[in-house]
């Protein structure tokens, strides 16, 4: 049976969008693939996370927010110093970055574009299910949402576990047991409660050093992103656990005083770097079978605004990491920061579609059928938009 994958592989001429190409047949053979989606809400400033220091227009665009230091990736791009711990991953080929990627929807409203990012459609349909839920509804994969609520990307018919670090001292086990029995007659409540308890037990048992509970039990301490990464890892490395995790991270909307090497955005990037760096250690052997995507709804304006920040933009940065990644490369072409190269004269022009990035992972890493990817997860996505050669 000829699948679309093979057709694409058979000599597509280099099209308008560079950075794509025939899909390599030598992708890493993942035995039991895991997938993590880290959702960065608020519009992460790609040009701060992945400064294009080699672009002649960079300094003029960024004015006083130009980064004096960066960790070099190649002749054009660097990493913000607070993401410096990701450089070894780049060197080892376990990290790839997309500097000008976006959803297919051209708008700058947080909730609309987040909806598009999470539903996999081309326009915002707030009542739609999430693309990842549509996938697992067909594959039967288990998925876990790290956070108090299940984000829209995982909303839908297929049931999903959720877990959040406990912010209260634990309740007595006798009490919880009594409740279990009391809830037995209410099927919906009972199912939910039992699943919640199971998730709690899974995470708590997993922690050998008792580290996690110590941190969370502290009054007033809010869990950091790396704690959530650790929790996700614990779920994923359990052979009986879920294969898919979604981690939610907020606070990326930096309109004012975003800072450079220090400041609000620098802190966010530090947390992101710590979180992404946590996965490898915590996943253990499963790391080789894992792909992690960190993506945001849109990037920000190339030029800074009047309040030392940036406004909502279009093309942004995404990170792809994991033992199963063939990295050390830039995904998608960099359109440049010259006036004409900017989208609507203000934003980084997107040259890659975030759906294309995720589709490549679903097809080549998760080994899913074309029907699931093009028919269900991302209806309307064109074959040629699938990014190649990194997984």
């Amino acid at each position: 049976m000829i699948t679309r994958r093979q057709v694409i592989g058979s000599g597509l001429a280099g099209g308008a969008l560079a950075g794509l190409g025939p899909m390599g047949s030598a992708f890493a053979r993942s035995k039991d693939p895991r997938f993590v989606f880290v959702l960065l809400r608020g519009g992460m400033d790609g040009m701060a996370a992945l400064p294009p220091y080699g672009d002649p227009g960079y300094e003029r665009a960024r004015g006083e927010l130009v980064l004096e230091k960066a960790v070099k990736l190649d002749e054009t791009f660097g990493l913000h110093p607070n993401l410096g711990r990701l450089k070894p991953y780049w060197s080892r080929g376990e990290l790839a970055v997309a500097p000008a990627i976006a959803t297919p929807y051209r708008d700058r409203s947080h909730f609309d574009v987040q909806i598009v990012l999470e539903t996999g459609l081309e326009t915002p349909k707030p009542n739609s299910d999430g693309w990842l839920n549509r996938v697992i509804a067909q594959t039967g994969h288990e998925a876990v949402a790290i956070g108090h609520t299940v984000p829209q990307i995982l909303n839908g018919q297929a049931p999903v576990t959720s877990w959040a670090p406990p912010r209260m001292p634990g309740a007595s086990p006798t009490y919880l047991e009594s409740l279990s029995k009391l809830y037995a007659r209410d099927q919906n409540l009972s199912e939910a409660f039992e699943a919640g308890l199971r998730a709690r037990n899974l995470v708590e048992m997993r922690d050998d050093a008792g580290q996690m509970n110590k941190n969370f039990g502290k009054k007033g301490s809010r869990p950091k992103l790396h704690d959530l990464a650790r929790a996700a890892s614990h779920f994923l490395r359990d052979p009986k656990g879920p294969r898919i995790a979604v981690v939610d991270s907020a606070g990326w909307d930096t309109h004012a005083n975003q800072g450079t090497l220090e400041g609000r955005l620098a802190r966010q990037l530090l947390f992101l770097g710590q979180a992404l760096d946590t996965f490898k250690g915590e996943l253990g052997q499963v790391w080789d079978d894992t792909v992690i995507v960190a993506a945001t709804e849109f990037g920000r304006t190339a030029r800074i605004n009047g309040t030392k920040g940036t406004d909502h933009g279009t093309g942004g940065a995404a990170f792809v990491m994991g033992g199963a990644v063939k990295g050390g490369k830039i995904l998608g072409e960099w359109p440049g920061l010259s006036g004409k190269g900017l989208y609507e004269g203000r934003d980084v022009l997107p040259t890659a579609d975030i759906r294309g990035l995720c589709a490549a992972i679903l097809l080549n890493h998760m080994k899913l059928d074309d029907q699931i990817v093009f028919g269900s997860a991302f209806p309307g996505l064109a074959d040629r938009a699938v990014l190649g050669q990194f997984v």
Binding site: F111, I115, N127, R167, A171, L182, A192, L197, A199, T307
Partner: protein, 469 residues
Amino acid sequence: MSLYSYVALRRFGFGPTPGQADTIRDPQGWLHNQLTIGAERAHGLSDTALRLESSRERLDRLMAARRATGKAKMTAIDEMKKTLFREAASRMMRASHSNAPFYERLVWFWTNHFTVAISAGGLMGLAGVYEREAIRPNILGKFEDLLLAAVRHPAMLVYLDQAQSIGPNSQAGKVNHKGINENLAREILELHTVSVHGGYTLQDIQGLAKMLTGWSVANDRYMRFADKAHSTRQGFAYYPVNHEPGEKMLLGRSYSAIDGYEEAEKALRDLARRRDTARFVCTKLARHFAGDRPPGSLVKALIDSYVDTGGALKPLYRILIEHDAVWEKPMVKYLQPLELIVSTFRALADYEDWPRGRDILVKLGRKEAYGMITSADLLGQFPYDAKSPQGWADIAEAWRAPEATVVRAEWAYEAGMRSARRLEGNPVHLAEQLLGPLLDGPTRRFMERAESRGEAIALMLASPAFQHR
């Protein structure tokens, strides 16, 4: 000790205080009496006592905050956060202390229908005042008047980007090269009136958006451009120079005969009277009071009334009070976190110690009022913080995620353990006073066998009977 007194208190109100059900001999009469304008103040907590300002005052401070930079801006944002907390805490206090809890519940319902959420930064200062000014006073009249009050409030105009929407062919549009923002028009159609099933197209959204140009927020700098005839105290202003000229169509009707401010007002009133709006609004109401899959007979009765009266709201509430379907089953709705918090507060609060006087929240010593806010955050429903203009979902699935049920159980445990010392007497007796005939055998037995009084109270709070209404 009729079952119906408990249902009236729990399903229509926010739950009883211990023994309150015994004082209600005529549950339906008790509810009918709450549908009066006076009910708006039946909580005994005036805006002055709570130190809450009006929109205009808030807007002026917001504008100043926008213009500020550096440290002054940080201070301004800090102040807005404090305002938000004060508004949120006041809201919880009012719901907890109202003698007309049915009225309060309806206010929450409509505020949710016309959601203005704080997710967009500047709205921290406006979400609470929006509820107080646009929603509270207008829930007993006609839907179209409530719709207009909500849409014309500065909070809504800012939330859905209407304040910056300018007709490209208007006087201002031709000079500034700014454009129309369709957000408000889209949400009015999709979320406030005819809903996604209303059969509107992109052209309809654009038509309504064009009609709405000029509808904006009062701004001292541009006051001379505003048409004074349409300015409101809350801060609505109509700027004719922003209004897009020309013919506009909406759902098959042309609005070219009128122009200016009246266009959009007429369009909104027309939308309010459409059958699709009746269907949408009445189904939501029925769902809120009779269960996630509301009985068809109730929905039909509500729709018929709406259509007959041109959208009068009070008759709808009277139908809810009188219709059998709303009283048939003892437990139909899983409590949302805010409802649970208020109902827990009412169940456990120390009413002897209720202070009087100015700035009640200060007298309460932050603890109680703000304790409710911390709980709201923990349980995942911070007031005014719905994640989208759709508002909070009114179905059990939205609130019953596995993790969420465990968090509730832990929260109930905390609440139970903390109140055990203060609440004397047998916890089972307390449960009888709060749940009456809704207290089931298993809950009673587990409470009796609990390891401690605190655990017994916790079991009551976490029991299916207490977690549903």
